[in-house]
């Protein structure tokens, strides 16, 4: 039986208003090469100026995951040639990173586990290579954007744990507001180190896969690489320390370069950037400003809203969902009712959409209106569900839609009785079955009633009427 050992290096772009070492705007999108200056395109003689907000954000991230903030921190140059690297070196940190230690707790299949961190350091992003018909081009807009690299210890032992860890990290960073963590836009990326070994034996040789940018790619890449390594070992082969490229379409990884031709980055302290001294009282002041994190919010949901702990955790896992939930409560203060709707219908919808970055395309105000209609039984459950689909991606007012389309729940007993009688006349067999005590047949009548009323029949009333009529 093989054990899998995984370590992750997570790169996360910080959403400061300007870049890490110059005054250019830090903004995704934008016409190519419109957000750059002599500094971030590496003009001769240009010099970096460290962005204090980037340091502050990195410290925030460190504090949120329990790191020790180093009082003395140094920026170094990581030297290598690549067209997207304007200066032919990346300003990064090696010997003295901003944050060390710490960790995050994850839960997989009901088992909790603490994943230790090695460090968090601050560095600059590279520019973007764009392949055009006339050949490769470089867009420097992204060059010099601040990012933090969060390096885990090799504490993860499955793809499931790796994804849980990443989701936890992402949730934390989103709560802090230091990053958008949008995997599709590349503001959150991962390098994955994997090795396998037999129980009781030392760790095996690891391989690295770079720049994975979706949870599913990370999950599949780890599974695939662990399997590949086990098969190699079974065949009696050795694992080569190497960098591999994961092809998400083919679902396979390919060898890129081995240790022998690995780059020698020739790190040394950047003489243009004076070492930074982070004073303890500065760290303390940042620490006091940290926003409420998932756990604290969940506690409030349990204590003040009376939600179950499980529901509270589900709602607070993703800051976006939690913020959205709280926004609905502003207009419609029925926490339990809203919670059930969110965890049931909205989550079902989100799961079906399979977005990498969660987004609910109905304003919380409209969602509150929809839920008010539902709670007051003005509309029934099936209409409510239908409205969720119909309003998605629009800013239609649910009250008006219900009015226009006549979706109000039918609660007129006489009208419903007429409809049900007709159904009974058409289905004598079903009536017999119900009379003989087969309660499952009730669902048939409710279904038929819904069909005839375009989903508007009040199911509770239908139930009562059917019961009354068969007596």
């Amino acid at each position: 039986m093989y054990k899998v050992v995984i370590g992750l290096e997570t790169h996360c772009e910080l959403k400061t208003s300007t870049k890490c070492f110059c005054a250019c705007k830090n903004q995704f999108g934008g016409e190519p090469n419109t957000q750059c200056c002599p500094v971030c395109v590496g003009m001769p003689g240009a010099l970096p100026i460290l962005n204090k907000t980037a340091v502050e954000y990195a410290i925030k991230a460190g504090l949120a995951v329990g790191c020790k903030i180093n009082e003395y921190s140094v920026f170094e140059r990581k030297n290598y040639f690549y067209p997207d690297l304007a200066k032919a070196y990346q300003i990064s940190q090696l010997e003295y990173p901003l944050c060390v230690g710490g960790g995050v707790e994850i839960e997989v299949d009901g088992t909790k586990k603490f994943i230790r961190l090695d460090r968090i350091h601050l560095e600059e992003d590279a520019a973007k290579l764009v392949h055009s018909k006339t050949g490769p081009k470089v867009d420097y807009n992204r060059g010099g954007v601040p990012l933090i690299e969060i390096v885990s210890m090799p504490d993860l032992s499955s793809a499931e744990e790796a994804v849980a860890y990443l989701k936890k990290l992402r949730s934390t960073l989103l709560y802090l507001g230091v990053s958008d963590c949008k995997m599709q836009e590349g503001s959150l990326k991962c390098d994955v180190n994997v090795s396998v070994h037999k129980e009781g034996e030392p760790f095996g040789t690891r391989t690295e896969m770079k720049n994975l940018n979706s949870f599913s790619a990370i999950f599949r890449a780890i599974k695939s690489e662990a399997k590949r390594q086990q098969e190699e070992l079974e065949k009696g082969n050795k694992i080569v320390q190497e960098t591999r490229r994961w092809d998400d379409v083919l679902g396979k990884s390919f060898s890129m370069r081995t240790k022998e031709d690995a780059q020698d980055y020739r790190y040394f302290p950047d003489p243009d950037i004076i070492p930074i001294h982070v004073r303890p009282n500065y760290v303390e002041s940042i620490s006091k400003q940290l926003p409420k994190m998932a756990q604290e919010r969940a506690q409030i949901y349990v204590n003040d809203f009376g939600l179950t702990e499980k529901d509270a955790v589900l709602l607070t896992d993703d800051k976006y969902i939690s913020d959205y939930f709280e926004a609905i409560l502003q207009d419609f203060n029925e926490p339990k009712f809203v919670c059930n709707w969110m965890l049931g219908e909205v989550f079902k919808k989100l799961n079906a959409l399979e977005q990498e970055d969660t987004e609910i395309l109905i304003s919380p105000q409209n969602m509150a209106k929809l839920l008010k209609l539902y709670k007051s039984e003005t509309i029934g459950q099936s209409v409510a569900r239908k409205l969720l689909d119909e309003l998605w991606g629009t800013d239609k007012n649910p009250e008006e839609v219900v009015k226009e389309q006549g979706l109000t729940q039918m609660s007129d007993t006489n009208q419903l009785e007429g409809i049900i009688k007709a159904i009974m006349d058409e289905n004598p067999k079903a009536v017999q079955e119900l009379k003989s005590g087969n309660n499952k047949t009730m669902a048939f009548f409710v279904g038929q009633a819904m069909k005839k009323t375009a989903g508007k029949a009040n199911p509770k009333l239908v139930n009562e009427i059917v019961q009354k009529l068969i007596k």
Binding site: P38, G42, P44, G45, A46, F81, A88
Partner: protein
């Protein structure tokens, strides 16, 4: 009257009293530049820009507007200093056609002081060299004797001042690149304290050692120039220091009584040329006779400074010069096959041999497995040298030594022997490692008539002490003549 031979202060006065306009003066300078073109002191001139600046300043003066400290004074800057719209070549084929998209802080400060920038001075390629023979645009000739080198790397900046092409110039000094040419050409050259002048816009050779400084014909001129270009550059250079800029000119002292002058025996060993030694000893005697106190100080690690310097400066240079890759700007090789080939060919064809030598050395000392043995050890040596200087300055106000162990050597004399060439810097390099200010001023000449330079060193931020001692020496010796 030959206006071009005046000092900066003298010409300032002539301009102020309307004896000459800046436009007339600027034209005279360009005539002089043409007349002395053979010296090859400049890589390029910006005549149109200079004349339009001069006219503007003249107009401002006419209108009675407030004028900057260098109003209408023609100056020249080294060709590794960016000035928007002008070529900044660093005397390299790689940047032969590179036009600056922005202006360096020190150049901007000159413009803000209403100076007239005439052009860009020749230099050793990327400031690497001690003779100015490493320029892609040909060597600069020593204006005192054209068979000799002017020193480097700021050879053009020293020469243009000596040859009366302008009244002061800017150079850069990483291991002696201002002081050595000042010594060889017989002008005043100051390397300020590291951090005194912003490096923003100055093409980096070794970032932790590079410092912009001034060439002039007199000490007082030098003080004024430094005053203009100094100061913290919060928005552009983190290594520029938050230090007040004193009024060096107003603070100039007229005597040196009681001043303690440190003399380290390590600077006066057998390698020293006897004429240089004699000249320095005379100067020391002069100071003593005028009330200064000579103090013995000790710098035991001086002999390893050069080794540490070449390791640290080459390591930083390797990284600083990596951006010249043929992708974004500058030289791009023809007929390349893929990106690696583009890098390889562009850099092979674009850089000269001395630059390549330093790049290789720098990569070697930074590479995995050698970093601790070379780079880290060199940084430790640097710390020790800093401490030794700090201890020495507890006993004295300034230190005096020769700038170079010899006078200027002949063109071609050392080009085949890089190590001999590197030894030209042994007295200047330790100052950069210790981040101190130091000046070279003329203190005599040898039998061949070549100038001898005296180096005056002070502790960090105490350029004033250097100006005081140098000014006293200059004024007294001038009177003696």
């Amino acid at each position: 009257m030959d206006f071009l031979k005046l000092s900066l202060f003298e010409i300032k006065q002539k301009l102020e009293s309307n004896e000459i306009t800046s436009e007339e003066l600027t034209k005279m300078c360009f005539n002089q530049i043409k007349a002395t073109q053979k010296l090859n002191a400049l890589v390029s001139t910006c005549e149109e820009f200079a004349l339009s600046t001069a006219k503007k300043v003249d107009q401002k003066r006419k209108n009675g507007e407030k004028l900057g400290a260098l109003a209408g004074v023609p100056v020249i800057i080294k060709d590794n200093i960016n000035l928007e719209g002008t070529r900044t070549t660093c005397a390299s084929k790689f940047l032969e056609n590179f036009v600056s998209p922005y202006t360096a802080t020190c150049a901007q400060k000159l413009l803000d002081a209403d100076a007239v920038i005439l052009g860009k001075a020749n230099m050793d390629e990327f400031a690497m060299g001690s003779s100015n023979e490493n320029s892609a645009f040909g060597p600069v000739l020593n204006p005192v004797n054209q068979d000799y080198v002017p020193g480097g790397s700021s050879g053009g900046s020293a020469t243009c001042v000596k040859a009366n092409q302008c009244f002061a110039s800017l150079g850069t000094d990483t291991g002696g690149s201002i002081r050595e040419p000042a010594s060889f050409c017989g002008v005043v050259g100051l390397k300020p304290t590291y951090g005194r002048v912003s490096r923003f816009g100055v093409v980096a050779f070794a970032s932790s050692l590079d410092q912009v400084g001034v060439f002039s014909r007199t000490v007082k001129d030098n003080a004024l120039m430094l005053q203009v270009i100094s100061g913290e550059d919060q928005e552009h250079d983190m290594t520029s220091a938050k230090m007040p800029v004193p009024n060096f000119v107003e603070n100039l002292k007229t005597d040196i009584k009681g001043m303690k002058i440190g003399v380290a025996k390590q600077f006066f060993d057998d390698k020293l040329n006897s004429e240089v030694k004699q000249s320095l000893e005379n100067a020391l005697k002069f100071f003593e006779q005028n009330g200064a106190i000579l103090v013995d100080v000790n710098l035991p690690s001086l002999d390893v400074a050069s080794s540490a310097y070449y390791i640290i400066s080459s390591a930083e240079a390797t990284s600083n010069l990596a951006r010249f890759d043929g992708v974004k700007y500058g030289f791009q090789a023809q007929n390349f096959d893929g990106i690696i080939d583009l890098y390889f060919k562009s850099r092979t064809q674009g850089f000269g041999p001395e630059v390549k030598r330093r790049i290789m050395l720098g990569n070697y000392v930074l590479s995995s497995g050698y970093f601790d043995a070379y780079y880290r050890k060199a940084k430790r040596v640097q710390k020790i040298i800093q401490q030794e200087f700090a201890e020495a300055f507890e006993k004295c106000d300034v230190m005096i030594c020769p700038t170079v162990a010899t006078t200027a050597f002949k063109l071609g004399e050392k080009t085949d022997d890089p190590v001999a060439m590197y030894l030209s810097d042994i007295f200047t390099v330790p100052i950069n490692l210790a981040k101190l200010p130091a000046m070279s001023i003329p203190c005599g000449q040898d039998k061949k008539g070549l100038p001898i330079g005296m180096q005056i060193i002070a502790k960090q931020w105490n350029e004033q002490a250097i100006f005081d001692v140098a000014n006293f020496f200059e004024q007294s010796t001038k009177e003696a003549k």
